[in-house]
């Protein structure tokens, strides 16, 4: 018998290929992490230079942003970003959630079959198209009923809101679809209507996913650049806390738009104005990074475990 034993040994080449593949996959996996670290490194490197010239406290508490006069207070830019984020959230969070409820609970298979791809298309429209749509169509229409400037935060907010609806609806819908059907059955069995089943069982059970979708959509709105640069203008403006709504009618400048403006202008590469780009970028990065961490925390905090 032993003479006929099959050859089960490794021929060497196979184990070499195994190691080669493993290494290749690992390199790909670490590439994105390395890139992220490199970006953070560059941001920090130039931001440190900037903060050598401008005290961090002045940057983080200042309420005037006029780089041409060497005044670098970041709050007007944060105000602009906040107002756009708030405005787009007011549109995208409710509409996105209602869309998700419709898709997950109400829509028939056939409707869902064409509505979902249609929403994905909305997510695939280049933001520059949204930006010009806001500037060329939305602003003139709204201008008939509101005293709007050519560049204003309102139409930019609306378009950013529309842009992030698919993000909210798609992630929320995934969360709702994964709520076990047995819970819906239990609710129907107790004499609940479809509306009650959706609002009292499905939405609470999917809350973790819904909240994550909200936070991710908000960080997307915070980071949105093209729409606001085109439609909201380039006017750094400090929020007037007695009339925050009034800010929507005027031109604002977000952190992202300010970075575009500095980058696209002919400022000298080693000037403080140029370096301010990295300080604003770092601020933006810290905010969106914190929101992503918060999103992780929320989704683990509210995640329900089903058997």
């Amino acid at each position: 018998m032993s003479t006929d034993a099959p050859d089960l040994t490794n021929d060497g080449a196979r184990s070499f290929r195994g190691i080669a593949f493993k290494t290749f996959f690992a390199v790909c996996a670490f590439l994105s992490i390395l890139t992220t670290l490199a970006i953070i490194g560059t941001l920090l490197y130039d931001a440190v230079d900037f903060f050598a010239a401008v005290p961090p406290l002045e940057f983080l508490t200042g309420t005037e942003w006029t780089p041409s006069n060497e005044v670098y207070g970041v709050w007007p830019l944060i105000s602009g970003t906040l107002i756009i984020t708030f405005g787009s959230a007011a549109i995208a969070l409710p509409i996105g959630l209602l869309t998700a409820i419709y898709l997950s609970e109400y829509a028939t298979e056939r409707r869902r079959a064409y509505l979902k791809p249609a929403l994905e298309v909305l997510a695939g429209v280049p933001t520059v198209v949204y930006g010009y749509f806001a500037l060329v169509y939305v602003t003139p229409v709204l201008d008939r009923i509101l005293p709007l400037g050519t560049f204003n935060a309102l139409s930019a907010s609306i378009m950013v809101g529309i842009m992030i609806i698919p993000m909210v609806s798609s992630i929320s819908e995934d969360a709702m679809s994964s709520v076990p059907d047995s819970l819906r059955q239990a609710s129907y069995g107790l004499g609940a209507t479809k509306f009650t089943v959706s609002t009292s069982v499905v939405v609470p059970a999917a809350l973790s996913g819904i909240l994550s979708s909200y936070i991710l959509a908000l960080s997307r709105a915070i980071g949105e650049t093209m729409i606001v640069a085109i439609a909201a203008g380039m006017t750094p403006r400090m929020i007037d806390l007695t009339d925050p709504g009034g800010m929507f009618l005027e031109s604002v400048q977000t952190m992202t738009a300010a970075m575009v403006q500095i980058g696209a202008s002919d400022v000298v590469g080693q000037s403080t104005e140029y370096k301010s780009l990295f300080a604003v970028g770092l601020t933006l990065f810290v905010i969106t990074f914190a929101m992503n961490l918060f999103s992780e925390w929320v989704s683990s905090r509210y995640r329900e475990v089903y058997r």
């Binding site: 298979e109 059955q185 609710s187 129907y188 107790l190 609940a192 069982v201 329900e304 058997r307």
Partner: protein, 287 residues
Amino acid sequence: MTQRTTTQTPTDRTDDRPTNEQATDAEPATDRSGSVADPVIESRDLDVYYGDDQALQNISFEIPEQQVTALIGPSGCGKSTFLRSINRMNDLIDVARVEGDLFFRGKNVYDDDVDPVALRRKIGMVFQKPNPFPKSIYDNVAYGLRVQGEDDGDLDEQVHTALERAALLDEVEGQLDTSGLELSGGQQQRLCIARAIAPDPEVILMDEPASALDPVATSKIEDLVEELAEEYTVVIVTHNMQQAARISDKTAVFLTGGRLVEFDDTDKIFENPEHDRVEDYITGKFG
């Protein structure tokens, strides 16, 4: 008596209820003619289809009040489908279609003017796998009351009563605000029973309520089912023939093809069934 249209299955309608039942206090006060209560549910020539497949064929029988009626039969025989057609849970399946009549206290539940939501408020349901909501024990039990707008009374009292009737109160007293998902499987199922009986329905449908539970938890559920029959009409689907023999008063045997082969007193079914096929099934020769 004139309503009886059960052609395949002459049912024995005398008063000699099985001896293992808690006898007299379970008898409904409105018992007429000294025989048996009015049927709560009456199925007449009921057919159910899933798309082109016929799941139930020509089902006709009557379910008596305040008794336990067991539906038994091999997998795929349509017993769960029948249970779900009583409270129109089959409506939730797009391809399901029902023909024939199913009366609940004389009203055809498939009439156009029947709202399944209103129907389900009269007919509670307990499912095969315990499915408590990811909410507190209290909110689970209160859910039906709130949904049905019956929470204006003393909600605490209603919740306590339901938990007590479901034999769960002793085990969860003082921790009603913990999640229902933290209970053991058997406790979860009793929580689901408490949730079903809290709004005080007339009928409780149970779809293999103990099949996912261990023997100890199963026996608690069985005891509970017998107690519930003192106040409610219970219809229970089970795979377990010993369970049907232990807890039910009446048994309906469904066999392959979605046909009701025999419906009679449980004792009769298990000791001396009319049909050989039923005897073969019960003695384990097939199925």
